[in-house]
Symmetry: C2
Subunit: 164 residues, 2 copies
Protein backbone atom coordinates (compact mmCIF):
# COMPACT_ATOMS: atom_id res chain seq x y z
CA UNK A 1 0.00 0.00 0.00
CA UNK A 2 1.40 3.41 -0.95
CA UNK A 3 1.59 6.31 1.46
CA UNK A 4 -1.13 8.04 -0.50
CA UNK A 5 -3.43 5.10 -0.29
CA UNK A 6 -2.75 4.86 3.40
CA UNK A 7 -3.73 8.46 3.89
CA UNK A 8 -6.76 7.93 1.69
CA UNK A 9 -7.96 4.97 3.68
CA UNK A 10 -7.33 6.73 6.98
CA UNK A 11 -9.45 9.56 5.73
CA UNK A 12 -12.08 7.12 4.61
CA UNK A 13 -12.13 5.46 8.00
CA UNK A 14 -12.57 8.85 9.64
CA UNK A 15 -15.38 9.54 7.21
CA UNK A 16 -17.03 6.26 8.07
CA UNK A 17 -16.76 6.93 11.76
CA UNK A 18 -18.34 10.34 11.30
CA UNK A 19 -21.14 8.96 9.19
CA UNK A 20 -21.91 6.32 11.79
CA UNK A 21 -21.79 8.84 14.62
CA UNK A 22 -23.91 11.23 12.67
CA UNK A 23 -26.48 8.54 12.02
CA UNK A 24 -26.54 7.71 15.69
CA UNK A 25 -26.93 11.35 16.61
CA UNK A 26 -29.89 11.63 14.28
CA UNK A 27 -31.50 8.66 15.95
CA UNK A 28 -30.95 10.05 19.42
CA UNK A 29 -32.09 13.50 18.39
CA UNK A 30 -35.21 12.03 16.91
CA UNK A 31 -36.06 10.18 20.09
CA UNK A 32 -35.30 13.24 22.17
CA UNK A 33 -37.52 15.38 20.03
CA UNK A 34 -40.23 12.83 20.54
CA UNK A 35 -39.83 12.79 24.31
CA UNK A 36 -39.57 16.57 24.64
CA UNK A 37 -42.69 16.77 22.49
CA UNK A 38 -44.61 14.44 24.78
CA UNK A 39 -43.49 16.39 27.83
CA UNK A 40 -44.82 19.54 26.20
CA UNK A 41 -48.06 17.76 25.42
CA UNK A 42 -48.54 16.70 29.01
CA UNK A 43 -47.63 20.05 30.50
CA UNK A 44 -49.26 22.30 27.99
CA UNK A 45 -51.86 20.34 26.07
CA UNK A 46 -50.44 20.99 22.63
CA UNK A 47 -48.48 18.75 20.29
CA UNK A 48 -44.95 19.60 19.29
CA UNK A 49 -46.11 20.39 15.79
CA UNK A 50 -48.70 22.79 17.15
CA UNK A 51 -46.00 24.45 19.20
CA UNK A 52 -43.89 25.12 16.15
CA UNK A 53 -46.86 26.51 14.30
CA UNK A 54 -47.57 28.82 17.25
CA UNK A 55 -44.00 30.13 17.01
CA UNK A 56 -44.20 30.64 13.27
CA UNK A 57 -47.51 32.47 13.52
CA UNK A 58 -46.18 34.54 16.40
CA UNK A 59 -43.28 35.73 14.26
CA UNK A 60 -45.62 36.34 11.30
CA UNK A 61 -48.06 38.56 13.23
CA UNK A 62 -50.97 40.19 11.41
CA UNK A 63 -52.68 39.58 9.08
CA UNK A 64 -51.50 35.97 9.38
CA UNK A 65 -49.97 33.29 7.21
CA UNK A 66 -51.35 31.22 4.34
CA UNK A 67 -51.90 27.51 4.93
CA UNK A 68 -49.38 26.68 2.23
CA UNK A 69 -46.71 28.74 3.99
CA UNK A 70 -47.25 26.74 7.16
CA UNK A 71 -46.96 23.52 5.19
CA UNK A 72 -43.68 24.65 3.73
CA UNK A 73 -42.26 25.68 7.10
CA UNK A 74 -43.12 22.34 8.63
CA UNK A 75 -42.70 19.25 6.49
CA UNK A 76 -46.38 18.59 5.99
CA UNK A 77 -48.68 17.93 3.07
CA UNK A 78 -51.53 20.33 2.44
CA UNK A 79 -53.93 17.78 3.86
CA UNK A 80 -51.90 17.56 7.04
CA UNK A 81 -51.90 21.34 7.44
CA UNK A 82 -55.66 21.54 6.97
CA UNK A 83 -56.25 19.03 9.73
CA UNK A 84 -53.64 20.45 12.07
CA UNK A 85 -55.13 23.93 11.76
CA UNK A 86 -58.60 22.42 12.17
CA UNK A 87 -57.59 21.08 15.55
CA UNK A 88 -55.81 24.26 16.57
CA UNK A 89 -58.85 26.30 15.58
CA UNK A 90 -61.12 23.98 17.55
CA UNK A 91 -58.82 24.47 20.55
CA UNK A 92 -59.13 28.23 20.14
CA UNK A 93 -55.43 28.76 19.47
CA UNK A 94 -55.71 30.21 15.97
CA UNK A 95 -58.34 31.67 13.66
CA UNK A 96 -58.79 31.54 9.91
CA UNK A 97 -59.83 34.50 7.78
CA UNK A 98 -60.36 34.77 4.05
CA UNK A 99 -57.39 36.19 2.19
CA UNK A 100 -58.62 39.44 0.66
CA UNK A 101 -55.93 39.24 -2.03
CA UNK A 102 -56.67 35.68 -3.20
CA UNK A 103 -60.09 34.20 -2.79
CA UNK A 104 -58.77 30.64 -2.83
CA UNK A 105 -56.58 31.28 0.19
CA UNK A 106 -57.16 31.54 3.92
CA UNK A 107 -54.94 33.36 6.38
CA UNK A 108 -54.20 31.88 9.79
CA UNK A 109 -53.26 33.97 12.81
CA UNK A 110 -52.94 33.55 16.56
CA UNK A 111 -55.78 34.28 18.92
CA UNK A 112 -54.92 35.91 22.27
CA UNK A 113 -55.13 32.43 23.81
CA UNK A 114 -52.73 31.21 21.15
CA UNK A 115 -50.27 33.95 22.04
CA UNK A 116 -50.42 33.19 25.73
CA UNK A 117 -50.02 29.49 25.04
CA UNK A 118 -46.99 30.14 22.86
CA UNK A 119 -45.29 32.06 25.67
CA UNK A 120 -46.05 29.44 28.28
CA UNK A 121 -45.03 26.57 26.02
CA UNK A 122 -41.77 28.28 25.16
CA UNK A 123 -40.90 28.62 28.84
CA UNK A 124 -41.63 24.97 29.50
CA UNK A 125 -39.87 23.82 26.37
CA UNK A 126 -36.75 25.87 27.07
CA UNK A 127 -36.76 24.58 30.59
CA UNK A 128 -36.86 21.01 29.39
CA UNK A 129 -34.04 21.54 26.91
CA UNK A 130 -31.96 23.43 29.43
CA UNK A 131 -32.44 20.75 32.05
CA UNK A 132 -31.42 18.26 29.43
CA UNK A 133 -28.11 19.95 28.78
CA UNK A 134 -27.36 21.62 32.08
CA UNK A 135 -25.56 19.01 34.10
CA UNK A 136 -24.40 16.82 31.25
CA UNK A 137 -22.26 19.18 29.25
CA UNK A 138 -19.32 20.76 31.03
CA UNK A 139 -19.73 24.54 30.97
CA UNK A 140 -16.40 25.27 29.37
CA UNK A 141 -17.41 23.30 26.28
CA UNK A 142 -20.61 25.16 25.67
CA UNK A 143 -19.28 27.83 23.40
CA UNK A 144 -17.54 25.33 21.22
CA UNK A 145 -20.63 23.15 21.14
CA UNK A 146 -22.83 26.08 20.27
CA UNK A 147 -20.47 26.96 17.43
CA UNK A 148 -20.43 23.42 16.12
CA UNK A 149 -24.15 23.02 16.36
CA UNK A 150 -24.66 26.23 14.45
CA UNK A 151 -22.42 25.13 11.60
CA UNK A 152 -23.84 21.64 11.55
CA UNK A 153 -27.46 22.64 11.61
CA UNK A 154 -26.87 25.17 8.87
CA UNK A 155 -25.14 22.57 6.73
CA UNK A 156 -27.83 20.05 7.38
CA UNK A 157 -30.70 22.43 6.77
CA UNK A 158 -29.17 23.28 3.39
CA UNK A 159 -29.20 19.61 2.48
CA UNK A 160 -32.78 18.85 3.35
CA UNK A 161 -34.29 19.48 -0.07
CA UNK A 162 -31.81 17.08 -1.63
CA UNK A 163 -33.40 14.02 -0.17
CA UNK A 164 -36.96 14.86 -0.96
Amino acid sequence: MSADEEIGSAREAAEDALVVTFGRLLGVANRLEYLVGRALERECGISHLMYEVLLILGRAGDPGLAMSAIGRAQVLTTGGVTRLIDRMEAAGLVERTDDPADRRGRLVRLTPLGERTAVRATELHRGNLRRLLADQLPGEHWERFADDLRVLSRAVAKEVPRLR
Copy 2:
Protein backbone atom coordinates in the same frame (compact mmCIF):
# COMPACT_ATOMS: atom_id res chain seq x y z
CA MET B 1 -24.28 45.25 38.68
CA SER B 2 -21.35 43.51 40.33
CA ALA B 3 -18.61 41.79 38.40
CA ASP B 4 -19.91 38.45 39.57
CA GLU B 5 -23.41 39.17 38.35
CA GLU B 6 -22.01 40.29 35.04
CA ILE B 7 -20.18 37.03 34.61
CA GLY B 8 -23.27 35.18 35.70
CA SER B 9 -25.47 36.85 33.14
CA ALA B 10 -22.93 36.39 30.37
CA ARG B 11 -22.87 32.74 31.21
CA GLU B 12 -26.64 32.71 31.19
CA ALA B 13 -26.76 34.33 27.78
CA ALA B 14 -24.36 31.71 26.47
CA GLU B 15 -26.57 29.06 28.00
CA ASP B 16 -29.62 30.54 26.32
CA ALA B 17 -27.90 30.62 22.98
CA LEU B 18 -26.90 27.00 23.32
CA VAL B 19 -30.37 25.94 24.35
CA VAL B 20 -31.89 27.70 21.37
CA THR B 21 -29.33 26.24 19.00
CA PHE B 22 -29.78 22.84 20.48
CA GLY B 23 -33.53 23.07 20.05
CA ARG B 24 -33.05 24.07 16.44
CA LEU B 25 -30.65 21.20 15.88
CA LEU B 26 -33.19 18.78 17.27
CA GLY B 27 -35.79 20.11 14.87
CA VAL B 28 -33.48 19.85 11.89
CA ALA B 29 -32.28 16.40 12.92
CA ASN B 30 -35.84 15.25 13.27
CA ARG B 31 -36.75 16.44 9.80
CA LEU B 32 -33.60 14.92 8.39
CA GLU B 33 -34.32 11.61 10.01
CA TYR B 34 -37.74 11.77 8.45
CA LEU B 35 -36.41 12.49 5.00
CA VAL B 36 -33.62 9.90 5.17
CA GLY B 37 -36.26 7.45 6.33
CA ARG B 38 -38.48 8.17 3.36
CA ALA B 39 -35.54 7.81 0.99
CA LEU B 40 -34.85 4.41 2.49
CA GLU B 41 -38.49 3.51 2.12
CA ARG B 42 -38.50 4.38 -1.57
CA GLU B 43 -35.22 2.67 -2.33
CA CYS B 44 -35.60 -0.37 -0.16
CA GLY B 45 -39.25 -0.82 0.68
CA ILE B 46 -38.81 -0.77 4.45
CA SER B 47 -39.59 1.89 7.00
CA HIS B 48 -36.87 3.48 9.06
CA LEU B 49 -38.15 1.72 12.16
CA MET B 50 -37.96 -1.62 10.37
CA TYR B 51 -34.42 -0.82 9.37
CA GLU B 52 -33.37 -0.29 12.94
CA VAL B 53 -35.04 -3.50 13.99
CA LEU B 54 -33.17 -5.33 11.22
CA LEU B 55 -29.90 -3.96 12.61
CA ILE B 56 -30.74 -4.93 16.17
CA LEU B 57 -31.76 -8.42 15.18
CA GLY B 58 -28.66 -8.76 13.02
CA ARG B 59 -26.45 -7.99 16.01
CA ALA B 60 -28.48 -10.33 18.21
CA GLY B 61 -28.16 -13.37 15.92
CA ASP B 62 -29.62 -16.72 16.99
CA PRO B 63 -31.86 -17.64 18.65
CA GLY B 64 -33.33 -14.16 18.34
CA LEU B 65 -34.66 -11.40 20.56
CA ALA B 66 -37.79 -11.10 22.68
CA MET B 67 -40.46 -8.64 21.57
CA SER B 68 -40.03 -6.68 24.77
CA ALA B 69 -36.31 -6.25 24.08
CA ILE B 70 -37.14 -4.74 20.70
CA GLY B 71 -39.61 -2.42 22.35
CA ARG B 72 -36.97 -1.26 24.78
CA ALA B 73 -34.38 -0.67 22.08
CA GLN B 74 -36.78 1.40 20.03
CA VAL B 75 -39.11 3.72 21.88
CA LEU B 76 -42.26 1.73 21.21
CA THR B 77 -45.14 0.40 23.24
CA THR B 78 -45.65 -3.36 23.30
CA GLY B 79 -48.63 -2.94 20.99
CA GLY B 80 -46.50 -1.03 18.53
CA VAL B 81 -43.87 -3.77 18.55
CA THR B 82 -46.47 -6.45 17.95
CA ARG B 83 -47.77 -4.66 14.86
CA LEU B 84 -44.35 -3.72 13.55
CA ILE B 85 -43.19 -7.32 13.79
CA ASP B 86 -46.48 -8.46 12.25
CA ARG B 87 -45.72 -6.39 9.17
CA MET B 88 -42.09 -7.46 9.04
CA GLU B 89 -43.13 -11.08 9.34
CA ALA B 90 -45.69 -10.65 6.58
CA ALA B 91 -42.94 -9.15 4.42
CA GLY B 92 -40.77 -12.19 5.12
CA LEU B 93 -38.03 -10.21 6.86
CA VAL B 94 -38.26 -11.88 10.28
CA GLU B 95 -39.76 -14.95 11.87
CA ARG B 96 -41.21 -15.61 15.30
CA THR B 97 -40.60 -18.73 17.32
CA ASP B 98 -41.79 -19.74 20.76
CA ASP B 99 -39.30 -19.03 23.51
CA PRO B 100 -38.39 -22.43 24.98
CA ALA B 101 -37.41 -20.82 28.27
CA ASP B 102 -40.61 -18.81 28.81
CA ARG B 103 -43.86 -19.93 27.31
CA ARG B 104 -45.31 -16.43 27.36
CA GLY B 105 -42.53 -15.13 25.16
CA ARG B 106 -41.75 -15.23 21.47
CA LEU B 107 -38.32 -14.83 19.94
CA VAL B 108 -37.84 -12.84 16.76
CA ARG B 109 -34.95 -13.43 14.36
CA LEU B 110 -33.96 -12.46 10.85
CA THR B 111 -34.79 -14.61 7.86
CA PRO B 112 -32.18 -14.85 5.09
CA LEU B 113 -34.18 -12.24 3.19
CA GLY B 114 -34.07 -10.05 6.29
CA GLU B 115 -30.30 -10.36 6.44
CA ARG B 116 -29.87 -9.45 2.78
CA THR B 117 -32.23 -6.52 3.18
CA ALA B 118 -30.30 -5.28 6.20
CA VAL B 119 -27.06 -5.25 4.21
CA ARG B 120 -28.58 -3.51 1.22
CA ALA B 121 -30.40 -0.97 3.37
CA THR B 122 -27.24 -0.19 5.31
CA GLU B 123 -25.37 0.57 2.11
CA LEU B 124 -28.11 2.87 0.88
CA HIS B 125 -28.55 4.53 4.25
CA ARG B 126 -24.82 5.11 4.73
CA GLY B 127 -24.66 6.48 1.21
CA ASN B 128 -27.43 8.95 1.95
CA LEU B 129 -25.84 10.12 5.18
CA ARG B 130 -22.41 10.36 3.58
CA ARG B 131 -23.76 12.35 0.66
CA LEU B 132 -25.44 14.58 3.19
CA LEU B 133 -22.21 15.38 4.96
CA ALA B 134 -19.64 15.03 2.22
CA ASP B 135 -19.63 18.38 0.48
CA GLN B 136 -21.10 20.44 3.29
CA LEU B 137 -18.61 19.91 6.07
CA PRO B 138 -15.02 20.89 5.41
CA GLY B 139 -12.81 17.82 5.77
CA GLU B 140 -10.48 19.31 8.33
CA HIS B 141 -13.36 19.77 10.75
CA TRP B 142 -14.53 16.19 10.61
CA GLU B 143 -12.47 14.86 13.44
CA ARG B 144 -13.55 17.60 15.74
CA PHE B 145 -17.15 17.17 14.71
CA ALA B 146 -16.97 13.45 15.21
CA ASP B 147 -15.55 14.00 18.67
CA ASP B 148 -18.22 16.51 19.59
CA LEU B 149 -21.01 14.40 18.21
CA ARG B 150 -19.83 11.48 20.25
CA VAL B 151 -19.82 13.47 23.48
CA LEU B 152 -23.10 15.12 22.68
CA SER B 153 -24.95 11.99 21.71
CA ARG B 154 -23.67 10.21 24.79
CA ALA B 155 -24.81 13.06 27.03
CA VAL B 156 -28.14 13.22 25.34
CA ALA B 157 -28.76 9.49 25.38
CA LYS B 158 -28.09 9.48 29.10
CA GLU B 159 -30.81 12.08 29.58
CA VAL B 160 -33.56 10.38 27.68
CA PRO B 161 -35.18 8.55 30.61
CA ARG B 162 -35.47 11.81 32.54
CA LEU B 163 -38.18 13.16 30.30
CA ARG B 164 -40.34 10.13 30.22
